[in-house]
Symmetry: C2
Subunit: 291 residues, 2 copies
């Protein structure tokens, strides 16, 4: 295991060596999620920073994280971070709301000098800005809701806020099935969200607090109505990452590039990723890794 | 690890000892699934054989099995079987269709003298009997469909059959959410099954090929219509188990009993199990185990 606790000691080698900013610019950004959902973050980063190389790990063998205990999710997330750091990265994006909610401290403690960003902090920052009334609804997984991470992260930025987190596990399965709009999505969304938006002034901001949910954004936006601003954590994370990489961006001649790694069933991962994210290109190559 | 490859060598001890049929009668039946779904099998066994002690393992930490590769599912299933055998059991029920579909041979090879039953074989046997036309629809997880285990198991019993397997992953999430009937369930069921039942004579038998699906049976039965017989693998498994235990049934004075073990988040497991299966009683105690 390389010593990645020193900011300048990154790389897939046991040799400890110093890396200058110029060399570090050429390293990829590491991103991980439990499955395909985090590719919404990849898509947002590629739109904002097309020259960055991206290294994406999907811990498919152990998904979903959303229903697992904080202890288990933290163990998995630290292992995923260790794997990416060993490959050599200049920053780490935790593109899984559940892992961001419960494991960000543990990852930062393990790699104190590596820039680590979580989608929860990014989404909370965007929501605190977007809401006028301060009444904010967060749609998330059960694990994220139970952790109360959004509540804490939003309240740190805006003490007058009132945050309601609602667990929407069916949204994950719908998105993975490619059912992103239509009658089924609408009836499921009404089931979860109608009680929150039917009361007057109940919320003016809906945070898509799971990386799968931006895929359902058009349907959720229609249901929430024009008075409600949707916060896409993937977009918010890309903006924060651009800030974080300042001075270590990819060089102007970089072509970017995306490497996909899955901890199980890489063909299935490639098939679903290609269907949900056609912009990633056809015939995606996905490596298999054992954590 | 005890030597459980000998039929009379069961028990959670390193001492190898012979167990007579009379003593073996007092051992529990081991049952495992990746989550709460297998409790439909537990419920069916308790209705049919209330005196049997049952030991149920839910591999919640690594669920769902339905989307994982055969190699991974087999590894998990053999570990689950080893765990139950080490606790001492007289028979093993694989109450997970995905594991039954891909891992039954590996489990039988590991414990060649332990009676091992899988829900797929039981469901296939029942479907082969229930269908008149031989046109059989199987609703299952993606992993079960891809394995073609139902097709093989039905064709072995009935060469004239025509089997169509349809992956219905949203049914699992619906059942776990407690959404077992109503408008959402109907629209999802129509999405998956209408193409199969709208054509004339397309099927006269619907196999509920995932242990979660019996929870949706009333809604699925209405949708399929009166000309279609529903096959509940949980019921079929209980019937086969009664046959298998012949001569080693629990003694007449046995009070039965159910021990629940989860590999993660036991409180959550107890909460969902209690909500979905009120007949199991209130305030379920669930042990935590690390496989």
């Amino acid at each position: 295991m390389i010593n990645a606790e020193n900011p300048m000691l990154l790389g897939a080698s046991h040799t400890v060596f110093a890396v200058t900013d110029a060399i570090q610019s050429s390293y990829p950004v590491g991103i991980f999620d439990s499955g395909v959902g985090g590719l919404t973050v990849v898509a947002a980063i590629r739109r904002a920073m097309p020259r960055e190389k991206l290294l994406y790990l999907a811990d498919v063998a152990r998904q979903p994280y959303g229903t697992k205990s904080p202890r288990t999710v933290t163990r998995y997330a630290v292992q995923a971070a260790e794997f990416l750091v060993a490959r050599g990265i200049k920053a780490l994006v935790v593109a899984c709301n559940t892992a961001s909610a419960v494991a960000l401290e543990a990852i930062t403690a393990r790699f104190p000098h590596l820039p680590v960003l979580g989608v929860v902090e990014a989404g909370a920052a965007a929501a605190a800005l977007a809401s006028v009334s301060g009444r904010i609804i967060v749609a998330a997984t059960e694990g994220t809701c139970r952790s109360q991470a959004y509540e804490r992260a939003i309240m740190r930025r805006r003490g007058d806020a009132s945050v309601t987190c609602v667990a929407c596990p069916l949204f994950v399965t719908l998105a993975e099935e490619g059912l992103t709009d239509g009658a089924i999505v609408e009836s499921v969304a009404r089931h979860y969200l109608d009680p929150l938006f039917s009361r007057a002034n109940e919320g003016d901001c809906l945070v898509l607090g799971c990386t799968h949910f931006p895929l359902l954004a058009p349907a959720l936006g229609r249901l929430a109505g024009p008075g409600v601003r949707l916060v896409d954590c993937a977009e918010a994370t890309a903006i924060l990452l651009a800030e974080t990489l300042s001075g270590r961006e990819a060089l102007p001649d970089s072509q970017g590039g995306l490497t996909l790694i899955s901890t199980d069933a890489p063909e299935r991962f490639a098939r679903i990723a290609g269907r949900l994210f056609p912009a990633l290109g056809r015939d995606l190559a996905v490596e298999l890794a054992d954590l």
